[in-house]
């Protein structure tokens, strides 16, 4: 397997690596290549940073659903309950 093959393969699997989806063998292949390839090494760092940053977008704690969330249900329910079926 040549450097060019490893490089193309590594570029396609960077996100899988970050996700932990690669087999042990595949992970070692990417590790080995990324040690010598600045491009893939930077790609790995960028994807890790991306996931970290996107996780940091979780800042909506405390946001409440509007009180009107069931407003369409009551009128629909007055037309009769849904026919019970096997649950």
């Amino acid at each position: 397997m040549g450097y060019a093959d490893d490089h193309q393969w590594s570029q396609r699997h960077l996100s899988h690596y970050v996700e932990g989806d690669l087999s042990h063998r595949a992970r070692r292949r990417l590790d080995r290549h990324a040690r010598d390839c600045a491009d893939c090494g930077r790609g790995l760092r960028a994807l890790r940073a991306l996931v970290y940053a996107v996780q940091g977008l979780d800042g909506l704690a405390g946001v409440r659903a509007p009180a009107t969330i069931f407003d369409r249900v009551r009128p629909a329910a007055t037309g009769g309950p849904p026919a019970p079926q096997n649950a």
Binding site: E19, A53, G56, L57, A61, A65
Partner: protein, 208 residues
């Protein structure tokens, strides 16, 4: 299945879990028999998380509120057909994702009319961060929000469910209504598109 802890209260372990499950099962049975109060109690437990998900997917609080009403109406109409193959929460979330995608399709992939709010964009910071670092973080927040808003709905759904909401791949795929393999493919595409939009230098300068 219980919701992922991120963005919501973690379930209590042990006996509390069992009691909660029994309560949910009882409410579900009553709702399926046409008890509207039971339906509101059952679904109301997830209303805040569901609204947050819609807000993340749609970006517009008014539209998220509208769609949330539609989700509850559809859930009420369909609850008698719910067969318990997934948890009620997963089923409700799946309806929400479908409705959000329907709303996004109506907009023909226009970016959200109201960008994700500033609190949405709170990147982890430490008290020691210098002003230059904070400025870089703010810039990255804006770039991330813009990049996420431009993703096609299925890709945006994938990255929101997995990376923002913190669901496992299995849970997220179930909610998105696709196989785990298809979900992973969407997630990887989403990350690559966001990475390309922001650029490695900007990402590694702040997070690396």
């Amino acid at each position: 299945m219980t919701p992922s802890p991120r963005g919501g209260s973690p379930p209590d372990p042990g006996a509390a879990d069992a009691a909660a499950a029994a309560t949910e099962a009882s409410l579900l049975a009553r709702a399926q028999a046409g008890d509207i109060d039971a339906f509101e109690q059952l679904s109301g437990a997830y209303a805040d998380r569901l609204f947050m998900l819609l807000l993340r997917l749609l970006g517009d609080p008014d539209e998220a509120g509208e769609v949330a009403q539609e989700v509850m109406l559809r859930a009420w109409r369909a609850i008698s057909r719910f067969q318990g193959r997934s948890s009620y929460f997963t089923w409700l979330y799946r309806i929400a994702v479908n409705e959000a995608n329907r709303a996004l399709a109506k907009r023909e992939r226009q970016p959200p009319s109201v960008p994700l709010g500033p609190r949405e964009l709170d990147l982890p910071t430490s008290p020691g961060d210098d002003p230059a670092r904070q400025a870089e973080n703010n810039e990255l927040r804006r770039a991330l929000a813009a990049a996420l808003a431009m993703l096609p709905p299925p890709l945006r759904t994938a990255i929101v469910l997995r990376d923002v909401e913190g669901f496992s791949t299995q849970q997220a795929a179930e909610i998105a209504g696709v196989s785990q393999a298809a979900f992973k493919s969407r997630l990887h595409q989403a990350r690559l598109q966001v990475r390309a939009a922001i650029g490695d230098d900007a990402l590694t300068a702040v997070g690396g």
